[in-house]
Symmetry: C2
Subunit: 453 residues, 2 copies
């Protein structure tokens, strides 16, 4: 078992060659520890939130000239004494500095350990801590805003408030049990019902926000499929090119874009490889391929590209094979300039979106069509959205437990059974914000964080 | 022409998802500019070297919760007012914050522009500014130490001191010229000679340090060649595996290792692809291939791997073809377990290093052999090494000009010609430390920096 406030250390900025890198150190003795390897002012004597120039050394050897920021408990991210060392952004220097800190008593931080300490020390609740990771991994401005809203409170306060009221009822009911056979009713059943309706109404609004929240946070896994030479790559490029221009309007800050990812209307669309579909010219046969099945199962959208230069009956036959697929499909008729007027009319009636990828014709129309499947508006400050699968599941379980409480009251069940269901609802609700935690739950949550956060 | 102190902005940490990212802003109005987009304390009123929690916003929209560090001129890296914004390490957030700063009047910094301003504002001389880039790009601890030494002064002071003495002589000689026909000699020729000897002795020590300095800074381009199946990859793995273990002893801090790079004795050995040699079984024929020629020309070391399971006469014949190559060669006899005693004796006499890569036999012996070609000890604090080709060339040109001064004095040349050569020496010397600069020179130097430095 690790000591809860021993100094932990990690690189907090991204790895790689850069102007500066920041090494983060937290724990009761972290300032004294930093002082041991620092030539400059006496860090321990400095006030919180101040920055000091000096040299990091390992015995006689100077490693680098740095700026050291001092944060004193409880005014730091972790609420512990903390130090940030801003050194030159060389991986060699980062390694040397971390090495000398470890030599002097620091331990390498595990992923998310700084945030875990912040949670344990009461900086924020568990849902807010999880939002810290979400904000870092946000791939769109909408996802960033949703995570920021959650980090700044989101549903936390409301859930805690409703949970406290429910706790109040639970204790009253448990008090009744102490009176055994006497027919007392401290907890008015009508008031309890009213409270449960109120809680459920809030739960429903949160639960129903998950569809939108999930799309915002995780994006839309999209498969582009179609026969060879239908123009899949040309289409992807036509879709991507315009978007890439927006992404890269600030040079030097664009991260490495995952190939085949497009942000459209604030949503990230991730295009998945469909080698299986691509390599075969028979869609029915290819559907039989296990791997392709798997891909389409994971997809939330299929863009199926038809080659309109082919004869109409072939196209219609190909279209017929798509019916077996259990995923939203957008039928894209590419090479519209090579189709005859008759075919165009018939295909439009069959809900084909007709485009020419190479001439960039109707690309906007296709985008509108894509977005019409995912009604996600801009996330505003203060909007509360459930984006986390864990929260979603717990909200549903809370709701189910409350349903059982209501049903129990209707069927005149005894107080001890009511109390049990209420306790269960409290448990699921408490796990969301971390009033109820287990080591496993925490380990599972924080292991998904970056090291250094 | 850019205004010399308009606010410039750039991401200063490496790109990518991480716990935190730092955005750097510098220029006369940078603190006021940061204040415009910051909700929290009044930054302008805060003392230098203090850190403040708050929110970055773009109008109504909150972008992120951040820590803002305030540095007041002249106590910052650039000697200008500066601000560092430490935000969550999300590329989306970095982009949004830089965007809102640009919207409010900042300009995107060009590569090295912060360091260029630090140089222009007199924080350090040009050789020290160049060392800032070297320290960031250092790939070994030796390279880091050499760059740190240079950044902390290195030869700068000594060169400036000698240059000042030379300027003194130059002005005396030019004064003589004013007196025209009168036979005055303000600048004693013997003293000038003594000074030149003193300068040249220092120049020689710097010039001769370049071989070592260059290897330390740039590593050793190494070609591993040999017939197919001679065991080149096995050898490389045997060499790398042990070293990689050292590199990764601190998990999470290891940068992405360039494949086929090995740090040995503080020197980085970069292994180059030799597809040309690899694909042909006839070394003579392959040498004819232009590309292979090119590679070997760029190499500073060739590790040629022989397959000792082949008949001895074949090995010797192969060895014979290597004589034409104009590069240091280490002849590695691999699969020594498959060679007979007779062959082993003969090959050792021919300076073969016999190993078994797969059994990891004699790998250390081979490493010692490799290092014996590059006598580079550990760089200590205070060691002065020339690592920069530009400095090396200017030192040589200074030395040549001083040679001409000496020869001129010996042949009784007139003062005006002496003065011209001295001025030339002063020019080359001054370019090293930046007393003499041109826009081109500065542009050339700083364009090689990271953005954000």
């Amino acid at each position: 078992m690790n000591s809860p406030d021993e100094p932990i250390v990690a690189l907090a900025t991204a790895q790689g060659i850069s102007a500066i890198a920041v090494i983060r150190l937290s724990g009761k003795d972290s300032i004294d520890l930093a002082q041991k390897i620092f030539k400059g002012k006496d860090l321990v004597a400095q006030p919180s939130h101040t920055i000091h120039f000096g040299t990091i050394h390992d015995g006689e050897k100077n490693i680098d000239e740095v700026l050291v920021s001092v944060f004193k408990a409880p005014n730091s991210f972790t609420k512990e004494n903390s130090v940030e060392i801003s050194c030159h952004g060389s991986p060699v220097i980062v390694k040397e500095i971390i090495k000398v800190l470890v030599k002097n008593g620091a331990r390498l931080a595990t992923p998310g350990e700084f945030t875990k300490r912040a949670f344990i020390n009461g900086r924020f609740d568990l849902a807010q801590a999880e939002a810290v990771a979400d904000i870092i991994f946000a791939e769109t401005d909408n996802a960033r805003q949703a995570a920021l809203n959650q980090m700044r409170g989101g549903f936390s306060k409301e859930i805690q408030h409703l949970r406290e009221e429910l706790i109040h009822f639970a204790s009253l009911i448990e008090l009744e049990l102490d009176f055994g056979e006497e027919d007392v009713e401290f907890a008015k059943r009508d008031d309890l019902k009213k409270l449960i309706y109120q809680i459920q109404s809030y739960l429903h609004s949160l639960i129903s926000s998950f569809d939108q929240g999930n799309v915002i946070k995780n994006g839309v896994p999209t498969v582009i499929a179609g026969k060879p030479n239908a123009g899949k790559s040309t289409l992807l490029n036509a879709l991507l090119n315009e978007e890439k221009a927006i992404v890269s309007e600030i040079p030097g800050t664009t991260r490495d874009v995952i190939e085949d990812e497009m942000i459209l209307g604030g949503i990230s669309f991730r295009f998945m490889d469909t080698a299986g579909l691509r390599e075969t010219t028979d869609i029915v046969e290819s559907i039989g391929v296990e791997r392709t099945h798997e891909r389409i199962k994971k997809a939330s959208l299929l863009l199926y590209v038809f080659d309109l230069s082919l004869p109409l009956d072939e196209i219609l036959k190909e279209d017929g094979t798509l019916k077996k697929l259990n995923v939203p499909i957008i039928k894209v008729g590419n090479k519209m300039d090579k189709a005859n007027a008759d075919a165009i009319g018939k295909l439009q009636n069959q809900d084909f979106t007709l485009i020419s990828a190479s001439h960039k014709q109707n690309i906007q129309k296709l985008k509108d069509k894509i977005l019409s499947h995912f009604h996600v508006g801009e996330v505003k400050q203060g909007d509360v959205l459930v984006t986390n699968l864990r929260h979603y599941q717990n909200l549903k379980q809370t709701n189910d437990a409350l349903d059982r409480v209501l049903a129990g009251m209707d069927s005149g069940i005894t107080g001890d059974f009511l109390a049990m269901d209420i306790r269960q609802a409290l448990h699921y609700l408490g796990e969301i914000t971390g009033q109820v935690t287990t080591d496993d739950l925490l380990a599972n949550i924080f292991s998904k964080f970056c090291i250094g956060k």
